[in-house]
C-alpha cells in the first residue's frame, strides 16, 4: 500500500459524509420541487393543455396567463391589501407574543400555568367553526368590511403558536444572564428590550416568517369579513378562476405564482436583515 493510496483514502473518508449529505439534499430538493415545477409549467400552458397533459414541458411557453393576471384590475389592489394586512399582523404577533412569552417563561408567579394553558387554546379549536361567532362579534364592533377587522382576527388566532414557540426559546436563555442584568440595575422592561429580544432574533424571525405565510394565504377570514372587492386580499382573487362548473387551473397557477413571488421576496429580504443582526446579537455581555 503506497502512501498516495492511504492519503487518497483519508481524503475520501473525510469528504464522503459531505458528498453523501449533498446527495441526500439534492434528492430532497428534487422531491420537494416537483409540484412547484409542475405549477410553473401549468401557468405557461393553456387551460386545456394543463388539464390534459399536466407534467409535460410547456413548449412553446404561453405567457398569456401571467399577462392576464397582471392586467387584472384587482390584482394590484389585492396585492397591496395583502401586504398591509400581513405587515400589521406580523408586527402585532411578534410584539404581543414576545411580551406574553416573557413572564410566562422567565418569571414565576401564581396562576402562571393556568394562563399559559389558557393561551394555548388557539391551537385546539378549529377556526372554521370559530369564524361563525367571530363574525358576529366583529360585526357588533362595526369592523366588517374593514382591513382592521381582518388584522385583529388574524393576530388573535396566531398568538398561540407564537407564544408556544417563543416560550420555548426564551427559556433557553441562561438565567445567570437575567440575574446579572438585574444586579446591574435593569428592571424587567429593560432586560426584555435590551437583552432578551436581541438574543432571540432567530426565534422572532421564525415566528415572523410563520405568521407572514399564514396571513398571506389566509382565505377564510377575509372571505367572511370583507364585502367590497376593493379590500380583497390575494387569496380571494383565486376565486375568480374557479366556477361552479369548472376550474381554470392554468390561470390559477399563474395567479398563485404571481401572488407567492412578493411573499417570497419579502421573506428573503427580511431574513437577510435578521441574519445580519445575528452577528451583533451573538456578542454577549
Amino acid at each position: 500500500m503506497s502512501v498516495n493510496d492511504s492519503y487518497r483514502r483519508k481524503i475520501l473518508k473525510k469528504n464522503l459524509p459531505r458528498i453523501f449529505q449533498y446527495i441526500i439534499l439534492f434528492v430532497a430538493v428534487v422531491i420537494v420541487i416537483i409540484p412547484i415545477v409542475m405549477l410553473i409549467f401549468g401557468a405557461l400552458k393553456t387551460r386545456g393543455e394543463f388539464m390534459t397533459r399536466p407534467y409535460t414541458l410547456p413548449i412553446p411557453p404561453n405567457w398569456e396567463n401571467f399577462a392576464r393576471v397582471l392586467k387584472m384590475p384587482g390584482f394590484w389592489s389585492m396585492l397591496l391589501n395583502s401586504f398591509l394586512v400581513m405587515l400589521a399582523t406580523t408586527s402585532g404577533v411578534i410584539i404581543i407574543c414576545s411580551m406574553a412569552a416573557f413572564p410566562l417563561s422567565r418569571m414565576k408567579f401564581r396562576g402562571q400555568n393556568l394562563i399559559f394553558n389558557f393561551l394555548t387554546l388557539g391551537l385546539m379549536f378549529p377556526i372554521t367553526l370559530a369564524i361563525l361567532p367571530v363574525y358576529l362579534m366583529v360585526r357588533q364592533m362595526g369592523l366588517t368590511d374593514n382591513l382592521w377587522g381582518v388584522i385583529l382576527i388574524q393576530t388573535a388566532f396566531q398568538l398561540s403558536i407564537g407564544i408556544v414557540i417563543l416560550c420555548g426559546f426564551f427559556r433557553s436563555v441562561p438565567s445567570e444572564l437575567q440575574d446579572a442584568s438585574y444586579i446591574d440595575g435593569c428592571n424587567a422592561f429593560s432586560f426584555f428590550w435590551r437583552i432578551l429580544l436581541p438574543l432571540s432574533r432567530p426565534a422572532l424571525a421564525a415566528v415572523g416568517a410563520l405568521t407572514m405565510v399564514t396571513s398571506w394565504n389566509d382565505l377564510l377570514v377575509p372571505l367572511v369579513l370583507l364585502n367590497s372587492d376593493s379590500l380583497w386580499t390575494l387569496p380571494l382573487g383565486t376565486m375568480q378562476f374557479q366556477g361552479q362548473y369548472g376550474v381554470n387551473l392554468a390561470l390559477i397557477a399563474a395567479f398563485v405564482i404571481l401572488s407567492a413571488v412578493p411573499a417570497v421576496i419579502f421573506y428573503l429580504f427580511a431574513e437577510r436583515q435578521i441574519i445580519s443582526g445575528l452577528t451583533a446579537g451573538a456578542i454577549k455581555g
Binding site: L39, P54, P133, M137, L152, V213, V256, A282
Partner: protein, 313 residues
C-alpha cells in the same frame, strides 16, 4: 451547587428581595400579558363559549337556538362509527408525523444548519412548500396523484417499472390516507425545519469549538451536544406537530373531503360536513368541543411531562 443549562456547576449570587421590585414585577407581568389576554378573551373565549352553548342544542345555524337536547349530540358523536374512524385517522397522522416528518425535518436542519455551501438556497427551497397555500397544494397534488399515467406524474414514474400498474391513490380506500400523509409531510416539514434551524442558531459556537478541540467526532457532537441543546425546540416542535395533526383540515377537505367513503375522514372534516354541508350546527359545535377536549387533554399531559424535564435541569 446549582447547574446551568449546560450542566456545568456555577456559583449563584444571593437573590435580592426588594419589595418595591416585587411590586414592580407584578405590574410588569400584567402589562406584558395584557394584550395577548385581551385579544384572546374577545376573539377566542367567546367563540368557544358559543360553541359549548350551541352544542347542547339541535340548531340549523340561523335564528335562535330553541331545540335543547342536552348531551344528546355528544352521545351521538361518541357512538358514531365514522367519528371514531376520524379519531383513529387523526391519531395515525399524529404518530406518522412524529416518526417520519419530525426526524426528517431535524435531519435536514442539521445538514443545512452547519456551514454548508448553499445553505440559503436549500433553506428557501425546503420552506417553499409551506409558503404555498393549502388550496393550491391540494390541487397540485391531486393532479400528481391522477390515476391516468398520462396525467398523473407519480403514476407515470411508477408505470415505468415493468409489471407495476397505475394506482388510484386518492380513489382507493387503502391508499388514500397514506397519500394524504405524504402531502402533509411535504407541506409541513419546512415549518419544523425552520424551528430547528432557529434553535441551532441559538447554540453558542464556542461550545461546538470547545467540543471539537476535545476531539469529538460528528456523530458524538450531534448526539451529545447539538440535540440536547435544542431540546426545548424539539419539545416545542413535537407539541405543535401533535396539535396541528389533530386539527388538520384544509388539505384533506380539498383533496378528498374525507372520502372515499370516509377512508380519509378526520375530526375537522367530520365537523365541517355536519356544520356547513348538513346545516347541523349544534352537532358540529359538539364535535368542535370534543376536538377541544382531546387537544386539551394531550396538552395538559404533555406540558406536565415536559415541565418535569425542564425543572430537573
Amino acid at each position: 451547587m446549582k447547574k446551568n443549562s449546560f450542566g456545568q456547576n456555577v456559583q449563584t449570587l444571593p437573590r435580592m428581595t426588594n419589595p418595591v421590585r416585587r411590586h414592580q414585577d407584578r405590574m410588569a407581568i400584567m402589562i406584558f400579558l395584557l394584550p395577548a389576554l385581551a385579544l384572546f378573551l374577545i376573539f377566542l373565549v367567546y367563540p368557544i363559549f358559543q360553541s359549548v352553548y350551541y352544542s347542547l342544542f339541535s340548531w340549523k345555524g340561523f335564528g335562535p337556538a330553541v331545540d335543547f337536547i342536552g348531551l344528546d349530540n355528544f352521545k351521538r358523536i361518541l357512538t358514531d362509527r365514522i367519528f371514531l374512524k376520524a379519531v383513529g385517522n387523526g391519531l395515525l397522522i399524529v404518530v406518522f408525523s412524529l416518526i417520519i416528518q419530525l426526524p426528517l425535518a431535524l435531519a435536514l436542519a442539521l445538514m443545512i444548519g452547519r456551514s454548508l455551501r448553499g445553505r440559503a438556497f436549500f433553506r428557501t427551497i425546503f420552506f417553499m412548500p409551506y409558503i404555498l397555500s393549502e388550496v393550491i397544494t391540494g390541487i397540485m397534488w391531486m393532479i400528481l396523484y391522477n390515476p391516468n399515467p398520462n396525467r398523473g406524474f407519480i403514476n407515470a414514474i411508477l408505470t415505468l417499472i415493468p409489471g407495476i400498474k397505475a394506482i388510484p391513490w386518492l380513489g382507493n380506500t387503502s391508499t388514500v390516507l397514506m397519500a394524504i400523509f405524504v402531502v402533509l409531510t411535504w407541506k409541513f416539514f419546512g415549518f419544523h425545519m425552520l424551528l430547528y434551524l432557529a434553535g441551532l442558531q441559538n447554540i453558542p459556537p464556542e461550545i461546538e469549538e470547545a467540543a471539537l478541540i476535545d476531539g469529538v467526532n460528528n456523530r458524538q457532537m450531534i448526539t451529545y451536544i447539538t440535540i440536547p441543546l435544542i431540546g426545548s425546540t424539539i419539545r416545542t416542535s413535537i407539541y405543535l406537530s401533535v396539535l396541528g395533526s389533530l386539527q388538520v383540515f384544509a388539505l384533506v377537505w380539498i383533496m378528498t373531503k374525507g372520502g372515499p367513503v370516509n377512508a380519509s375522514e378526520v375530526m375537522s372534516t367530520y365537523m365541517y360536513r355536519f356544520s356547513f354541508v348538513r346545516f347541523q350546527l349544534g352537532y358540529g359545535s359538539a364535535v368542535a368541543v370534543v376536538m377541544l377536549l382531546i387537544s386539551l387533554l394531550f396538552s395538559l399531559a404533555y406540558l406536565r411531562l415536559v415541565r418535569q424535564t425542564d425543572y430537573l435541569n
